[in-house]
Assembly symmetry: C2
Homo-oligomer: 243 residues x 2
DNA sequence: TCAAAAGTGTTGTTTGTACACCCATGC
DNA sequence: GCATGGGTGTACAAACAACACTTTTGA
């Protein structure tokens, strides 16, 4: 907006700090995991929190988020990873020290590297989504919002491939859906649905890979160029899913 | 998030200003309209902009947005109106005066009251969505994002009723869809779809109203309690809708 | 030869789409 | 009566869900 005062003074108000916080998600061994850092100092010293940090004067929240992501994961090339703005949390008092407005992001990655506790954090680790509460600050809520958003977007966007390595099997792709949604899907129908959506995945000619050590080798696929899924791949309603 | 510096100093950085900007949308006479204010001073003096204002130290961005909404529309009770956080715009340089991070909201209302140019704005007015560009700052982009979001949410959320008065006909509800999407819908099928979704609308017993001055009086409905639409009411794909 | 995982086929049901048609009202 | 907008019926096609079956591998 930026209208609102007839004469403005940068220092007229108590200053706001703006941070970018990240819910970095991955799927490994059939479990949804999230990257957390252990806080080294008060408040919430010793508790786990989402990685994040201050937005610098010369960067956008998106740039700050990508920078933090690179620092926390130790990945050299973070440019291809899926990063998506979730929403902004601005309740007064959410940080006891000062007024902090936090722009939250969801990041999705395959095959997570070992995190190295960065400059800030005492320790960084992948933790199972279901076993991390309570987190510091209002991060429980941010994390829940991230999972809701990702789950909902799997229905109508070609998002699941962001959880998969460059080449993947349809079984792996299906496991992403099943893990995030927490429901089992019919394999034949899932397969048909995915292959019937132009641009969702494209086959890697001739390639195949054994998955569980046993069984028929599965054909490999790459992410396609489409971004949306038409028609969508719907979760079964199962009565009253929240908005 | 709020970790990141070992010793923090509120005044260590150039201060950020945080604003709440509003894309207030309505549907009247088959056209999508947006509430705009004319800027009284530089930068962008004389140009139209989205209403908005600074988030005060003791309020959240949501509270600030609702306060601004009440001020700009002059509505006494703004509590029932649909207000939804869109996303946050934080590029450096988006406001030439200082670093402004803007949390954008979409608000939906029926039957708009005449706006009264508030304290800030030289003038406030409802303008047709298609004829307002260019707006000040990056508001063209915010407005486009708002329309995209609302259009997408109409598919799977019980959102259209937010554009309708307390009691409305199915024809009016259909016009909301047609106006926001810019496509014509088959009336019989639309009707069945809406009525088949439990909790989307509920009939007002016995009530009926003439719409175009002619024709059969239409039955009246109220908004139901459901929030999501299962199965969704999909736009026809018509090739490559963007994400 | 067996278990495990990939992949194909088939069938009945549901849902969507396109239309034709009837109803109530103002002019 | 006729134009206008509300409301119902129907028939064809597409999509979905459930599940039986075949294939290819390692042990």
């Amino acid at each position: 907006m930026t209208v609102g005062v007839t004469a403005y003074d940068k220092y007229a108000y108590e200053p706001f700090a703006v941070t970018a916080d990240l819910a970095v998600l991955t799927v490994t061994e059939g479990a949804l995991r999230v990257l957390l850092v252990e806080r080294g100092q008060e408040p919430y010293a010793g508790q786990w929190a989402l990685p994040g940090g201050f937005v610098q004067p010369d960067e956008s929240a998106e740039t700050a988020a990508r920078r933090e992501l690179a620092e926390e994961t130790g990945l050299s090339d973070v440019s291809g990873l899926h990063l998506e703005q979730l929403r902004t949390y601005s309740e007064p008092g959410r940080d006891p020290r000062m007024r902090v407005v936090s722009v939250a992001f969801a990041a999705l990655l395959p095959d997570p590297p070992e995190p190295h506790g960065g400059s800030d954090a005492a320790d960084a680790r992948w933790m199972p989504y279901d076993k991390v509460r309570p987190l510091a600050f209002d991060h429980d809520r941010i994390l829940a919002d991230a999972r809701d958003r990702v789950g909902a977007k799997l229905e109508y966007a070609c998002l699941a491939t962001a959880f998969c390595p460059p080449e993947f099997t349809l079984g792996e792709l299906q496991q992403v859906y099943e893990t995030v949604w927490g429901t089992a899907l019919d394999r034949p129908n899932f397969r048909r649905k995915v292959l019937a959506t132009p641009g969702f995945v494209e086959p890697v000619p001739g390639a195949a890979r054994l998955t569980g050590g046993r069984g028929k080798p599965a054909a490999l696929y790459r992410a396609g160029t489409a971004t949306t899924l038409h028609p969508p791949l719907l979760r079964t309603p199962r009565e009253g899913r929240p908005a």
